[in-house]
């Protein structure tokens, strides 16, 4: 007679089951709202799919890819997105680091300054863009402020009218909105530097500047790398300011970033195939940045 003995459930198996149970909602959420749309976009990119059509979409191979890559509008959008990313990177990085160091060095009122800097990030992007659009009116605050500062009364800096200035304007709005967010990341990064290291440097006679340049900055490198990648990733997804400014009379071509082009292709032109191709190309770039982010700062825990 043969005895069949089932192996006892190990503690690890039990833990694994619980692990899966805890992870399942996240996996389900990710599959529904991220993975499925990505797979759907890949499928759509090979089909001639019009948004309102009731006919089944036709498989057209790589035709949509060829159309997008040959389109001058697409390359203009790549230029607009790249210009925007590079244009906002330096001011956001420098200002948020500067404010981060200043806030971290204060013992009193730290929370107040953090809150004040962070508050624009909480505002809706549409509200932010609307408020700035009023300020960029030729008779608005932007001209008055700059003319007062430079002693050039009556000069219209054409914030929303000139092809270059309208790009600068979108960057100003974005920097104003996002500096507080990245500043908080720097404050957190500085807070994680071991106090013992700082104390040791003080005992060794290091002054404030030496502590900043020889201890804080080197130990802040992982945070800096993470913030750099995040600035690029998030600024590639900018949309509301460009959309609203172009609705309010600003020339659309200079600020027709990829996200705005995707929106117009899908909603105005109703061509989901082309919009999907552009989305996937943008996704590929974002994926690259995400990989760089993981390499640079891990999951963010080291920050």
């Amino acid at each position: 007679m043969k005895l069949s003995i089932s192996p006892p459930r190990s503690l690890e198996t039990k833990r694994n089951r619980w692990g899966w149970a805890f992870v399942a909602p996240g996996v389900l959420f990710f599959s529904t709202f991220s993975l499925y749309p990505i797979l759907s976009a890949i499928w759509t990119s090979f089909h001639n799919k019009k948004l309102l059509s009731l006919k089944p979409p036709k498989f057209i191979g790589f035709q949509n890819y060829a159309k997008v890559l040959e389109s001058t509008d697409f390359w203009n959008s790549v230029r607009a997105s790249a210009t925007f990313c590079l244009g906002v990177f330096v001011p956001i990085f420098c200002l948020s680091l500067l404010f981060g160091v200043l806030i971290a060095s204060r013992s009193k009122g730290r929370r107040f300054y953090q809150m004040a800097l962070y508050s624009p990030a909480v505002l809706s992007s549409v509200v932010t863009a609307s408020v700035w659009a009023i300020m960029f009116d030729p008779r608005g605050l932007a001209n008055q402020f700059l003319n007062g500062l430079m002693g050039t009364p009556g000069i219209d800096h054409r914030w929303l009218a000139d092809a270059t200035m309208v790009q600068v304007s979108t960057m100003v709005v974005y920097v104003w909105k996002m500096v507080g967010y990245y500043c908080i990341l720097f404050v957190t990064g500085i807070g994680k530097i071991p106090v013992s290291v700082i104390e040791a440097s003080i005992i060794d006679g290091a002054n404030a500047w030496q502590r900043l340049t020889r201890i804080t900055m080197p130990l802040l490198r992982p945070t800096m790398a993470l913030v750099s990648v995040m600035i690029f990733t998030n600024s590639l997804k900018t949309f509301s300011t460009q959309y609203l400014f172009s609705q309010r009379g600003a020339p659309s071509r200079p600020i027709n970033v990829l996200t705005l082009n995707i929106y117009n292709t899908a909603i105005v032109e109703q061509n989901l195939g082309l919009a999907s191709v552009m989305s996937l190309l943008l996704f590929a770039v974002l994926l690259l940045f995400a990989w760089a982010q993981v390499k640079a700062g891990g999951s963010g825990e080291d920050m």
Partner: protein
């Protein structure tokens, strides 16, 4: 006391009459019918339409109507995505220029003439002004009912004319050359910044106001067969040059980045002397600045023409149409058409409370319409006008027009270069739609 009782009785009678006026859909009796109606936000129209819906539901107790409104800038996006997921509402409204994708893709139900109370499409058309259904007519059938159709004329501030040493009654602009010359006389600047505009364009209305300028000179946006874009180079070049001269890089008389001219006109704070708008602007002016509305300081004149116009062309009109979802069940469609007919039968109330003009013969002939200041000016222009281009690719063509006019006005492009690009882009739009 007696007076109060009589008033109450009259009020009750009126209320009961209102309920009684709403039509009963015999086919819906005893059946639960749910209708979803989506429209764009309008603080004045919402309460009025909700009142009509309440009356309709009182007359048809088994019918439930859900009224939802969305921001006007978002309604098209909301509708398009809902229809793409086959979850569109039973009743919806779209702008005339955006109707075509819904029609071409079979998303809209043809008119239920019985429910609308007419024998056929011809009878329905006859009760409206000619051309009212051009955007929603396919092979003899009508696919939508106009919520409003608007043509634009020129509002003139007489006081600002007088301040510039002009007599508006005599000196108002008849031609585009007049518009430019008067703007130069009235404009004031602080350095490069305009502090008072003589006139400024309506930059959200390229097909309504810029295209007619071209048409007056013999040019066309799209050929009659719908296959060729941008005809009549001479006309286009002249208009593009005019806009370039008008803009910041030319005589610096106006620009799309200033606050909309019609908004500043209503305020009467001396910022804009002339602006384009529809008859509805009168009601907005009345609400925002009743003192100015009631003064004799403003007037409305016809859409200007060129001195050497080849033909007289007023501003093109555009508007919104209520439509019924073709995917709704037949009974829902019948209820939807009956409801639409009931709502839109109150043209005078829409005009009085919402300030929108439904192009019905009944409203055009009504004493109320005629009593509105300068309604005759709008009517005369409307009678000679046509609808904006509503053929294939109309939304994308608007984007091409916007880019072309902005490039000469703001980016300093030469009219010839802008025209070449416009032709290439517009032709690509038409070709891709085939």
């Amino acid at each position: 006391m007696k007076k109060a009782i009589v008033s109450l009785v009259l009020l009750a009678l009126t209320a009961s009459l209102a309920v009684a006026q709403a039509p009963v859909v015999a086919a819906a009796k005893g059946k639960n019918v749910e209708i979803k109606l989506w429209t764009h936000d309008d603080a004045n129209r919402g309460p009025l339409e909700k009142q009509f819906i309440a009356e309709f539901m009182a007359a048809n107790p088994t019918v439930k109507i859900t009224y939802s409104s969305y921001p006007s800038g978002k309604i098209l996006e909301t509708l398009t995505t809902a229809f793409a997921a086959n979850q569109g509402p039973d009743i919806f409204n779209v702008a005339s220029g955006s109707a075509i994708p819904f029609l071409d893709n079979g998303r809209v139900a043809p008119g239920n003439y019985k429910a609308v109370g007419v024998k056929n499409a011809a009878e329905l058309e006859a009760s409206y002004q000619p051309g009212s259904f051009e955007a929603v007519k396919r092979e003899g059938d009508i696919y939508g009912m106009p919520l409003e159709l608007t043509n634009m004329c020129l509002y003139v501030n007489k006081k600002m004319f007088a301040e510039a040493g002009l007599d508006a009654e005599k000196d108002y602009p008849r031609t585009w050359e007049d518009v430019m010359a008067l703007s130069e006389k009235i404009v004031k600047r602080n350095g490069q910044i305009i502090t008072r505009r003589g006139f400024d364009f309506r930059y959200d209305a390229y097909p309504n106001t810029f295209v007619p300028m071209v048409e007056q000179l013999g040019g066309q946006l799209v050929s009659k067969d719908g296959k060729t874009a941008i005809l009549g180079d001479e006309a286009w070049l002249k208009v593009l040059q005019y806009v370039k001269d008008f803009g910041p890089a030319g005589k610096n008389l106006g620009s799309p980045t200033y606050t909309a001219a019609r908004t500043e006109f209503d305020k009467n704070t001396g910022l804009v002397a002339m602006s384009f708008s529809g008859l509805y602007q009168e009601a907005r002016m009345k609400a925002s600045n009743p003192a100015f509305y009631n003064s004799k300081d403003w007037m409305v004149v016809p859409f200007p023409q060129w001195k050497n116009s080849k033909k007289s062309v007023p501003a093109n009109y555009s508007g919104h149409y209520y439509m019924v979802n073709a995917q709704s069940a037949k009974l829902e469609q019948e209820v939807a058409w009956t409801l639409l007919n009931y709502m839109l039968d109150h043209g005078e109330q829409y005009l009085e409370k919402v300030a929108i003009v439904q192009p019905t013969q009944k409203l055009d002939q009504s004493a109320f319409y005629k009593s509105m200041p300068y309604s005759a000016v709008f009517s005369k222009d409307f009678a000679a006008a046509k609808i904006v281009y509503v053929g294939k690719g109309s939304s994308r063509l608007n984007t091409c027009l916007k880019e072309a006019f902005e490039s000469v006005m703001l980016a300093g492009a030469e009219p010839k270069a802008a025209l070449d690009k416009l032709r290439k882009d517009a032709q690509a739009v038409l070709d891709s739609e085939d």
